[in-house]
Symmetry: C2
Subunit: 569 residues, 2 copies
């Protein structure tokens, strides 16, 4: 059971961080939240409850399935204690966290299987097919789109936890590729690569807890995507298991014209077509230096124009590796949380005519400082031209230092009764301002309408020649029914995204929360294509039922909040 | 009928070029071919025959289908003369050219429909579905893998010629995207973009005759792919028609995590799932300067190492935009064809110890000469380190000047009784030397075994961080049965590619010629995925039957050479 204990240590079941390490919110930050969100934010609405106080339903794993699973992974790697099952009962979305803190879980897997080889994964899947159970692949457990909950599933559900299927299989220093077992934690992969002088360059906010297989299955994008690309760009090959056979795509060449790129069907398939067991990723030589720039723009439009010019004029390799522009609200909140130094900065910028500045962080990684400096200098010309005011580089260093801290802060905020969530999208440059306005407005309106006016902030953190992502964070006082509050805002934001012509998700994936919007994006024909693939590879709907593929029937089942929307696929 | 006449002018039916413009092979080149390939090469085996001397079978288009097609496109855009049908009877592979010159065509479409709008395309497809006819989408007609021949098809076959569905729909200078009708000729697209200061940067050897839709449908890669990427990298969106509905993918954002990237299912679908009507492509600002470098390496391994270091160390945007390394044989032939200047160069290199030099051409395109020079200088360090001997830059300019000339030369060679064909693959760097040796060896052995020992040459022209392409050209005296000779060599080469673990095609696509090897590449499960998509989108097998998808039944039908291999899908 040490695997379970390790996980408890790594990812505390009631949130993201270890409560022992939680730093209480500074007084000035609490005061700001009180002012902005109303008095309720200072109360303690959701203290963590004890793990053993949560009731879980009896396991539906019958004797024959249990026996087949034991044959597959060994009795010691088939877990079914309440704690083991609760730990795989969801991801890390706000509803997931609230639900586990209230102790009411609409979904808990019936057992947890921990295979350690590709073969054992195939055997677990085969056992579930043979005994009519569902399989939910579980990597780092960091889904924020209900990608790990089979709520409403009538069959036994086996959580296929990949953490034992971990480690570097081979690093090819000549080809610049690395093959990993899919359950390898991102942080372990990076450690293994750095020891040999390489990096993956993939650092999403979930980096400290996510797995490589999870990145690939959800089309993840990291904070350095401007320089290193999305995970889609890094995947050279995948291997895995479906209920009707095993697959291996991409292993023969870096590029091909041999028909549609089936590798790209498995990337982003979210466990609904099969489960990844190995991923081959392109790696690059680890940079030796990082240069930091912080600037403020007079408004979001100028900042977006500067980012657009950086990527269009400098190109993929020469633009900054990290580009991040906060809108005026996010800047104001960030500076507010920073206390005295933030206030000083605000005054400095106000003197220079920036009343509603947009803080911008840029990082360059390179082999030599000379090269990084050369790139930085080229970028600075573009920044200046668009009205950037230079700020101390230590602000960019501060961001870099705290880049993975937001989920820990969220734990603390939820404990304090703050409703806090994020969602993201992407669109073309010509649509960025409209999407920013419409989606931000929809979130704010929904919060207002619910009687909990809040803060809606946004940043751009992934740029492409033709467009960029928009990442919204919103905070408000928690309503009486937190899950209902969440669903109302989520629905308003999602509908605004669809109406504005943007994608329903840039890097969080579809899961259960976005699937009813997927049809707007890929059309009726796209849904039929996904369904045809699902029916071919997984005719029994064994794999991660309820995620990804929109259902076109009218049957309603509970969603992640318990509200009804659509049937499982 | 002016469209037909335009095509005759653009692409002469019996080959690639206009015979009026054909420059006869210089004496020294003829002598070299005579020496290398044997006396037969100097005879004239395949003079172009008169178009009206070719017999075509009676059209199988019945009255009801004809009437529906006329309703779709208008009577003046439904063609069924022998000449019109012959012009769409194949692509530009060696068998295609030989067949049309001998006047024996195993496949001729029964009619040619020329729609001018997305709606008309949908109506043509619907008419063919309703009246049980097959549809072969036809862009520039430059397939070299039998992607345009429905040999053995029992139903009426309608060639869906997209040349009237042409033109720039919109260029978004802000987003750096351009949307074109799919039938737009590449050369016209580039002209339209250059007029506004942009370029697509996509220049495959078929550039002068191919269409944008064809590029996308076949996953084309151009000579500047090192700098500008493959067509796959450029596609931001597609729109099109299948027999069961219309599709539009990619229009909402430059990147997304909304499930598997269905755009990448349509890219490379070769008309077998549907037909593209619009493509949105990323464009870049047209470069203002080009810098040229020619060097010679002492051997192919050093040259490959240099290319690998260029792409891995300099990255996508900083490495040369064009990189091309000829192996020792290709270098020898090129210098031989160049006559006296080539001989002088050989002596110069021999003095420097390069007995079997590998000629390498590198081009940099950039906004300013200063930047291009900066990049060139960084690259030269890597070239030197790997033993490169610098040659006059005019050699690189000469290559650039003649970069689209090979197909014209092929016409002339075929006329002179030379068996000449190309094939290509790609693999990881660590496998490049083995694939070069094994595939080149298989081609040479097959030519020897057939009693027509020949010349087998190869170049690398597309590089990636993890690998590169290998492009083979082979020449021999034509055997008595040229098609049998072609099939024998093609089979040997393809089997060697599969056995060596490389991809069956890097940029020529699958068509009919490669489809029996696709199962080795994507596995049984990949074939089932393609078939499931086909059955969903095109249950009546209306769209381009016989290409792409391997058939798993044992039924045999004629291939492009008339030999039997497998059933149409």
């Amino acid at each position: 059971m040490d695997v379970t204990l390790q996980q408890v240590q790594r990812s505390v079941w009631w949130g993201w961080g270890d409560p022992a390490n939680a730093a209480p919110l500074p007084v000035h930050a609490r005061r700001m939240l009180d002012e902005r969100l109303g008095a309720r934010s200072s109360t303690t609405n959701h203290p963590p409850v004890q793990l053993d106080s949560i009731e879980v339903p009896e396991s539906r794993v019958g004797d024959r399935l249990r026996s087949a699973l034991i044959d597959a992974v060994g009795a010691e790697h088939l877990l079914d204690s309440a704690a083991d099952r609760i730990l795989r009962a969801g991801g890390k979305s706000y509803p997931d966290l609230v639900r586990v803190r209230t102790g009411h879980l609409p979904y808990v897997p019936d057992a947890v299987a921990l295979p350690s080889t590709h073969r054992e994964v195939a055997d677990v899947v085969a056992a579930c097919v043979a005994h009519d159970a569902a399989v939910v692949p579980f990597g780092g457990g960091t889904s924020v789109v209900a990608g790990l909950t089979a709520t409403g599933e009538q069959r036994a559900v086996v959580s296929l936890d990949l953490r034992r299927l971990a480690g570097l299989i081979r690093l090819d220093e000549h080809d610049h590729t690395a093959t990993f077992h899919a359950g390898t934690m991102a942080i372990d992969a990076e450690t293994a690569l750095r020891a040999r002088g390489f990096t993956l360059g993939h650092f999403p906010q979930s980096y400290q807890q996510a797995s490589l297989g999870g990145f690939v299955a959800t089309r993840s994008a990291g904070q350095s995507s401007s320089g290193y690309g999305r995970i889609d760009d890094m995947v050279d090959g995948v291997r895995g298991v479906t209920p009707t056979g095993e697959f291996e795509f991409g292993s023969r060449s870096p590029a091909s014209a041999a028909g549609p790129r089936l590798l790209d069907v498995m990337v982003g398939s979210e466990g609904a077509l099969g489960v990844l067991t190995e991923v081959t990723l392109r790696v690059v030589e680890a940079p030796q230096v990082t240069r930091h720039t912080a600037v403020a723009f007079p408004d979001f439009d100028s900042a977006a124009t500067a980012l657009r010019e950086l990527v269009q004029q400098l190109g993929h390799d020469q633009q900054p590796d990290v580009t991040r522009v906060s809108d005026a609200v996010e800047t104001e909140v960030s500076l507010g949380l920073a206390g005295r130094s933030g206030k000083a900065l605000q005054r400095y910028l106000a003197v220079r005519g920036l009343e509603a500045p947009c803080l911008t962080i840029l990082l360059w990684h390179d082999a030599t400082d000379e090269r990084a400096k050369h790139r930085q200098r080229r970028a600075q010309q573009i920044l200046k031209r668009n009205g950037a005011v230079t700020l101390p580089a230590k602000i960019a260093r501060g961001w870099e230092h705290g880049r993975f801290s937001a989920p820990y802060l969220r734990d603390e905020l939820i404990t304090r009764g703050v409703f806090v969530e994020t969602l993201e999208t992407a669109t073309h440059w010509s649509n960025i301002a409209a999407v920013h306005r419409r989606v931000g407005g929809a979130i704010a309106d929904a919060l207002d309408a619910g009687g909990t006016p809040g803060v809606v902030q946004c940043h751009i953190s992934h740029v492409y020649p033709s467009g960029a992502s928009l990442y919204f964070t919103y905070l408000a006082a928690e309503a009486d029914d937190a899950l209902d509050q969440w669903q109302t805002v989520k629905t308003a934001a999602s509908e605004a995204i669809v109406a504005a012509g943007a994608t329903i998700t840039h890097h969080h994936a579809v899961g259960r929360d976005h699937r009813r919007y997927l049809a707007d994006e890929i059309g009726e024909i796209g849904v039929r294509m996904l369904r045809a693939l699902k029916n071919e590879l997984d005719p029994g709907d064994t794999m991660n039922p309820c995620v990804l593929i929109p259902d076109t029937t009218s049957q309603k089942v509970p969603t992640s909040t318990g509200a009804t929307t659509e049937a499982p696929s």
